[in-house]
């Protein structure tokens, strides 16, 4: 029988961090805030928000473009961070003008694999 996979229990205060920069301009301050909060690893995904998809790919919504946000969901950042790092990050992000703040979500972690390589 195969040995157990290398699944680790995360440290108790670690969280999954999901951040969504809405625009290109809001991404730079997000990155500097992450680094300043000493979050040293993250995955960045190019993304598009629902509004952008509706605007560009769904003809039945034509004519509503003016009612939809110009740009949404520009990039998604995924990371695992401690509560202290997240608290610091949130404090930094809350200092940004509201239109440059990302959407931010944290979730508890059950198991992790492949970190620290």
């Amino acid at each position: 029988m195969d040995s157990a996979p290398n699944i680790e229990r995360p440290a108790r205060d670690e969280r999954l961090l999901i951040l969504i920069a809405r625009t290109e301009e809001s991404f730079d301050p997000l990155v500097t805030a992450l680094l300043d909060a000493n979050i040293q690893g993250a995955t960045v995904l190019e993304s598009r928000g629902l509004g952008t998809i509706i605007r560009s790919e769904m003809p039945i919504f034509a004519g509503l473009a003016a009612l939809l946000p110009q740009s949404t969901g520009n990039r998604v950042v995924l990371s695992i961070a401690t509560r202290a790092q997240i608290d610091e990050l949130m404090r930094f992000l809350s200092q940004l003008p509201i239109e440059r703040r990302p959407i931010a979500v944290t979730l508890p972690l059950e198991t992790v694999m492949g970190l620290g390589l």
Partner: protein, 151 residues
């Protein structure tokens, strides 16, 4: 955060602006003893950084920095030059110039400090406050105050 690393002698208001090589040499002279490295080593590290890409931003802020093997400590400085200093040709002359030397063994500390300086300098009102400092001592006080606000 910054107060651990700022060398007050590197926090200055310079008017008129010095010639670029003279400025880099003066920074290296001041930093040399702090980091325990020869001035020429530091000068070469700064020049190598400048050759590798732009060090200034369209907002007129420059981050002249180098990570050097064997640096005993990290040192940060900040100069305000009302007449500006042209550090690369892709951006206008910089009137706020941060200088930073760190140890290559602690790259994340360097990155984190650059991120903090970038956060401070990205705010137009903050830049205005820093540029209005009349003396080096005023600039140091303003910088520490901004660091507190951004920390």
């Amino acid at each position: 955060m910054l107060n651990e690393f700022l060398n007050p002698k590197l926090v200055q208001r310079l008017d008129p602006s010095p010639e670029i090589n003279a400025f880099i040499r003066s920074v290296c002279q001041e930093v040399s003893a702090d980091v325990g490295l020869a001035e020429t080593t530091l000068e070469q590290a700064f020049l190598a950084r400048m050759r590798s890409g732009a060090v200034s931003t369209p907002e007129g802020v420059a981050f002249l920095h180098a990570v050097v093997v064997g640096a005993k400590q990290t040192v940060v400085g900040c100069c305000v030059m009302p007449k500006g200093l042209l550090l690369d040709y892709t951006n206008p002359p910089a009137d706020i110039i941060f200088t930073l030397v760190g140890n290559s063994a602690t790259p994340w500390q360097h990155v984190r400090l650059l991120a903090r300086l970038s956060r401070i300098a990205s705010d137009a009102e903050t830049r205005k406050r820093l540029k209005s400092a009349a003396t080096g001592a005023d600039l140091l006080a303003a910088l520490l105050e901004e660091d507190k606000r951004h920390g």
